[in-house]
């Protein structure tokens, strides 16, 4: 079995750490931690693929990400943005149902990506959470996001609500999604780190997804406590498994570079819309990435 050299970008946050831990479970995988700017051009030549932790652009911007993808493309290195949700069995089952037209045409989507505020990025729930939801909805609906409108809450001094906002996304083919992206699941009062729900409203039915619904409830004394014990799928495990599997078989990676760019562009547009107070068109994605298939 050939050894795989995986470039990993985004080690300054908990998601990146989780990707690395998962990759370490594979004895044939070597992880090379990369930095966005310096090392990459030197190293790309002999990498099997690059896994990009999408949380990284908290401090990067769209242009940095574009040039990174261009570099990978130049060296024929497959590039994958980390979107674990769409790789999860629950999302795949939903996608299959949509493709079988179980709910007819999708009219609207209501989504909530609620998480606790993370210490590594206390103020950017909208960016962190919008990218994941835009990607998941685009993929499920088979549509491209075109326009963003953001309505932000204000007046809350507490940091959890700094970015509390509804992000509206208008897709091609008329689908409209509204996403709650707030950091409203503080560990001070909520029993799970993340609470992610999505409802697809179709002409012939509705699909409701509650990503972390698989949980047991625990009530105890010594001391008095209530806990939710999640026993569902490990989403990162599923994503890494598919990522490596596709590299080994020379297949396109589960998430394309352009999908990542589109989602990040949408998230930045959400901020632009919030500051302008108006709907904002998402910049079209220009890059044609050639390195999708491992050589």
């Amino acid at each position: 079995m050939t050894r795989l050299r995986i470039g990993l970008i985004g080690m300054d946050n908990h998601k990146g750490e989780a990707y690395k831990r998962e990759l370490f479970n594979y004895p044939d995988v070597e992880v090379i931690v990369l930095d966005l700017n310096d090392e990459l051009p030197l190293l790309t030549g002999d990498l099997s693929a690059v896994l990009f932790c999408i949380e990284y652009p908290f401090w990067a911007n769209l242009k940095d990400m574009e040039s990174l993808i261009q570099t990978c493309s130049k060296h024929q290195v497959p590039f994958m943005p980390g979107f674990p949700f769409r790789c999860s069995p629950v999302a795949m089952a939903a996608k299959t149902a949509v493709e079988r037209r179980e709910i007819g045409d999708i009219l609207a989507v209501k989504a909530s990506y609620h998480s606790a505020a993370h210490t590594d990025n206390p103020q950017h729930s909208m960016l962190a959470n919008t990218v994941h939801m835009v990607d998941l909805i685009s993929w499920l609906a088979g549509s491209i996001p075109q326009e963003i409108y953001t309505m932000m809450a204000d007046g809350n001094g507490d940091s959890y609500a700094v970015d509390a906002a509804f992000v509206y996304v208008r897709f091609d083919q008329g689908v409209v999604a509204v996403i709650d992206t707030g950091y409203s699941r503080s560990s001070r009062f909520f029993l799970a780190e993340e609470d992610i729900r999505l409802e697809l409203i179709g002409t012939d039915g509705v699909i409701s997804m509650d990503v972390f619904a698989a949980k047991n409830e625990f009530y105890g004394t010594h001391p008095f406590q209530v806990q939710w014990k999640y026993y569902g799928d490990d989403l990162i495990k599923h994503m890494i498994e598919q990522f490596l599997e596709n590299i080994r078989h020379g297949r396109p990676l589960p998430v394309s570079a352009n999908d990542g760019l589109r989602a990040v562009a949408a998230a930045w547009a959400a901020y632009t819309s919030a500051s302008l107070g108006q709907p904002v068109l998402i910049e079209p994605i220009r890059i044609k990435h050639k390195g999708q298939v491992s050589g």
């Binding site: 007819g104 045409d105 009219l107 609207a108 209501k110 909530s112 409108y149 309505m151 932000m152 809450a153 204000d154 007046g155 809350n156 001094g157 507490d158 959890y160 609500a161 509390a164 906002a165 509804f166 509206y168 008329g174 409209v176 509204v178 709650d180 707030g182 409203s184 699941r185 001070r188 009062f189 909520f190 409203i201 002409t203 039915g205 509705v206 107070g277 108006q278 709907p279």
Partner: protein, 338 residues
Amino acid sequence: MIGSELKVAIAGFGTMGKKYAETIRRIPGTRVTAICTSRPESAISSGAHEKAALFQSYEDMLSYGDFDVVCITVPTYLHKSYTVQAAANRKHVICEKPIALKPEDAFDMISTCEKYGVRLFVGHVLRFFPEYRNLRELVLNGSVGSVGISHAKRASACPEEGSWFTDRTKSGGVIMDLMIHDIDFMRWTIGEAESAFAFSRTADGVEYASVTLRFTNGAIANLEAHWGYPGPFTTRIEITGEYGILRNDNLSSRSLVLRKASTTQQGSRGVIVPEVTAGYDPFWEEIYHFLNCIRHNDTPIVTAEDAAQALEIASAAIKSAQTGTAVRIPKSRCLERK
């Protein structure tokens, strides 16, 4: 009037008219004396009001006049003319929600009732639902701190094909007829709303609307209303503040669930009135409260002006859905006068 029997007339005998009649029968000191309906046979077959006089014409019922209060449960577009006529005949009015389709109609209704010295109540029954009252009390006593982001959802079967509900010129559509419950509740609980951003999507047998309200205190709330929902009647609410989250889901808070082995297609369309299995019946509480307000000249939990402002919010939301831009919510003239 204190202590004496209140006589009630019911104008319109569809789903809500029957609900009112059946409820009023269980309120002591109250009697239904007249019913006006284009389908008198349905009134008779209901068996609840053998002693009520039946009329096919509203004017005839008003001339008959042996009642103190008229419950108006006709299609929404008729609320104004029915209310104004009742007021002119010195009858108090309990009108189903929404108060009217246009803010100027609500103004006319309120000022006409004032002119003739009669009371006007609007049936925003959600304010009498115990789960919603409890949530509001928790918000008001500061349990979650200042409110940031909230959600509400109301999903129901699609009204029957050809019924007045499906005609927007008569019902105002899903925002005006269904979402108005949550609009009024959020305003009651969070405060005045200043702008609305909305979209709606329709297909055969489906009307779905999503409205985001921004409140003057900086809070935002996303409300969903859905006709043509394939599941059971569903309501959900979540209110998030700096210290916590409040949420309720009607399907996970039922004390009694009946499931039958064989199900038929019946009930896949129609107007759904939430089932009440607790001893506490919000519809009973609401009508009882309104009748007591008439008896004792009290201020109701929900005023006609509240209903007029809910209508302003719904109208702004509909305008936003049509134009694709955020719409500022004007303060109702009815509130301005107060």
